[in-house]
């Protein structure tokens, strides 16, 4: 039997292990990724099995981590960088946006940059400041980077391997709140979806709900609740944020005529704005209502005692669905 019940953390860990076994050029780098196995234990046991040369505990400096990873990639390695929390990726921002993203372009393809930058992202874990951010829009805006977000254990297992195998740099977002939450069945005999593909995770006819990472679960719960009220929501797990895989979205919206986007990132200039713009451009005559956006408010992430009010929840999704339907 090739089926196991795993958490997202376990899926990622197993995926990383597999990638390291498959390709000796794969390295893991970051703060506390070695003996500790990372603060979320995603790299648990890997240093023990692959050694300190392949699972590299780094000095406490994110620009240094990504910058040296660039050098390692130039030398032919495939570094997988762990950023400890979303809020700590910014010291590495310059290296990511000016170097990682542009290296292939600048070198006319001579210096590929196969690198994965793993970022546990999103809120809901009761943490202090800077531990609950959703920085995806900033990376998705940057040509040369690819940005994906996994939402479940099975995707975690496959997507991390696909990202590592990808010759482009991939910002790999992991919904930290899900790491140790729900388990799912990983069946190794089932072929995975491609990395850069969105996926309809629930069929419906009334409103299309677009989500990724942590909000897929929220969207599915909202769909469940809506079903109770006789409304059939279609839920799409975007999975890839740059490039966006719009065809399934367009197809869906053409059927439903309505779309609601749900993410934890601030609404203003979040992914929802791009999705709204594209859906409107492409499905203009199919739309019964404007694309509505449910997201983190345009305030800094608040203290954790009120974070659940900041984060989009089932009620706010349903509220948007209502507004869309009654537009």
């Amino acid at each position: 039997m090739s089926t196991q019940r795993i958490t997202l953390a376990k899926g990622l860990n197993a995926g990383l292990r597999k990638a390291m076994e498959d390709d000796p050029k794969v390295l893991i780098m970051g703060e506390d990724v070695g003996k500790l196995g990372g603060v979320f234990r995603i790299t648990d046991g890997l240093q023990k099995d692959f050694g300190e040369d392949r699972v590299i505990d780094s000095p406490l400096a994110e620009s240094g981590i990504v910058g040296t990873a660039v050098g390692l990639a130039l030398r032919g390695y495939r570094p997988v960088v762990e950023i400890q929390f979303d809020g700590f990726v910014y010291p590495a921002y310059d290296q990511i946006v000016c170097q990682v993203a542009k290296m292939r372009f600048r070198s006319k393809g001579r210096n590929p940059m196969p690198m994965v930058i793993r970022i546990p992202f999103g809120g809901g874990i009761g943490a202090v400041e800077h531990h609950s951010e959703s920085p995806e829009a900033q990376f998705a805006h940057t040509p040369g980077l690819k940005v994906v977000a996994c939402s479940n254990p099975v995707d975690g297992y496959w997507m991390i391997q696909q990202a590592i195998a990808c010759d482009d740099p991939v910002i790999f977002l992991e919904p930290k709140r899900q790491y140790h939450a729900d388990k799912a069945d990983l069946d190794l005999d089932l072929a995975p979806d491609p990395l850069f593909a969105s996926r309809v995770v629930r069929r419906g006819t009334d409103v299309t709900v677009l989500a990724y990472g942590p909000t897929v679960k929220t969207a599915l719960r909202a769909a469940e609740a809506a079903a109770g009220e006789g409304r059939a929501l279609e839920v799409i797990d975007l999975r890839t944020l740059s490039p966006l895989d719009m065809d399934p979205v367009f197809e869906s919206v053409r059927r439903t005529g309505r779309a609601v986007v749900v993410h934890e990132a601030h609404v203003n200039l979040g992914l929802g704005s791009e999705l709204s713009a594209r859906v409107t451009e492409e499905c203009f005559y199919s739309l019964e209502a404007p694309v509505l956006r449910v997201g983190g408010f345009d305030t800094p992430y608040p203290a954790s005692r009120i974070e659940e009010e900041f984060l989009p929840d089932l009620d706010r999704v349903l509220d948007a669905v209502d507004r869309s339907l009654s537009f």
């Binding site: 406490l60 943490a127 800077h130 408010f297 345009d298 305030t299 009120i306």
Partner: protein, 405 residues
């Protein structure tokens, strides 16, 4: 090839076992056994916060009390986290002397930029410990008024505050409160950070700016040997205080478990800064006896044996030994302090549990000085949305029975 490849010492091995007890360069005034020792450059000469000399034993009793109460804040908060009242707690166990020594060396006009672990310094600055708890409980991002205490908010992004401190010190220069010779006026800044933080670009840039402008800032690094699971050797292969030499200002390693030495060294560094002689790097050589935070499990990466050895260097025990041995404090003094600690513990427990949750609407406050209309609309929209629920239980601050969110 010429012989010239050996033109420098092979420094890889410099940071070796000889460093375990801090090495010969460690400034110490009170041994782990509680014995006073002399140092050629630094003496313990206590003053009150205005610079007036005070009697030695009285001062040392004060430091003892500070450390005991600080430790109680720490253990009580750890317990509160275990009981679900705090989301997380960053423990300072073992670092009391470093923090109290640094905190008591300050004058009122000095300004402090802490990390997230400077509970002892906060104590010295008169910050109510409940204000620290509110942060770790998730009620706010820091509850005290920085300018009321000249004690900045906790900074979580590693190293960022070193630059703030340097800039603040540059502001003091511009305000004419450096090197005037007026003791009541001359001021300086302390930037706190850890051994791990010394690797951040921001911290090194702070060294550069401080050196370039000769800013009155003391870089106070608590080398507690660990950055979460990573040992100091990952960040530096030579004793950390020597980092300063590369930037052209003095570095000193002090026994961070010796409150007298830490006080003396920090005070000297502050004085130097206030007089306009520029930055100093102080490495307080200490040990993180607890976990990184309450969510950390240090057994995964370090040996009990190390921790045990450092227990022998406990910062409070040695002061108690000194006071007791020299008759500088009576049993009733120790009992009184213990009692005070119990009271403080009680106050923290009750105060923490009674702490109201903020109103969800608070997230819209103070994003801007001038709130933009679009944010005002979000605020109103959300208020209206909340109204559609049972508003009484959500919009108004409520007392909760635990942090079990």
């Amino acid at each position: 090839m010429s012989h010239s490849t050996d033109f420098g010492p092979d420094l890889v091995e410099v940071f070796g076992p000889s460093q375990v007890d801090g090495g010969p360069e460690l400034v110490q005034l009170l041994t782990p056994e509680g014995e006073r020792v002399e140092h050629p450059e630094f003496r313990y000469e206590p003053t009150d916060s205005d610079g007036k000399p005070i009697a030695e034993d009285e001062a040392i009793r004060g430091l003892y009390r500070d450390m005991v109460l600080t430790r109680r804040i720490d253990t009580e908060s750890t317990a509160l986290q275990r009981h679900g009242e705090l989301g997380i707690w960053a423990q300072l166990l073992g670092q009391e002397a470093a923090q109290i020594g640094a905190g008591r060396a300050l004058r009122p006009q000095d300004y402090v930029f802490p990390t997230y672990r400077e509970h002892g310094v906060a104590w010295c600055r008169g910050v109510d410990p409940l204000n620290l708890l509110s942060l770790f409980r998730g009620v706010d991002h820091g509850g005290w008024d920085p300018s009321a205490h000249n004690f900045g908010l906790y900074t979580i992004v590693i190293g960022a505050q070193a630059l703030h401190a340097t800039g603040y010190a540059m502001g003091m220069q511009r305000d004419g409160v450096v090197g005037t010779g007026d003791e009541a006026r001359d001021a300086a800044v302390v930037a706190h950070f850890g051994d791990g933080a010394s690797s951040q670009g921001d911290v090194n840039e702070a060294f550069i700016f401080a050196a370039s402008y000769n800013a009155p800032v003391v870089f106070f690094c608590q080398n507690n040997q660990w950055a979460i699971s990573e040992p100091i050797e990952r960040q530096s292969r030579i004793p950390l205080y020597q980092r300063a030499l590369g930037f052209g200002f003095p570095g000193i390693r002090v026994d961070g478990n010796d409150v007298l030495a830490t006080y003396a060294v920090t005070k000297a560094a502050l004085q130097r800064a206030r007089e306009g002689q520029g930055p100093t790097f102080v490495e307080a050589y200490t040990y993180r006896m607890g976990a990184h935070t309450t969510t950390d499990d240090p057994t995964r990466y370090r040996l009990d044996h190390d921790v045990e050895r450092w227990k022998l260097r406990d910062p409070i025990a040695r002061v108690k030994a000194y006071l007791a041995r020299n008759g500088a404090a009576s049993e009733s003094f120790f009992a009184k302090v213990a009692n005070e600690a119990d009271e403080l513990g009680h106050r923290l427990r009750e105060g923490c549990k009674a702490m109201p949750d903020p109103s969800p609407m608070a997230m819209f406050d103070q994003v801007y000085a001038e709130e933009p209309p679009e944010l005002a609309a979000q605020r109103e929209g959300f208020a209206a949305y909340l109204e559609t629920f049972d508003s009484s239980s959500v919009v108004e601050p409520v007392e909760t029975q635990g942090a079990g969110r």
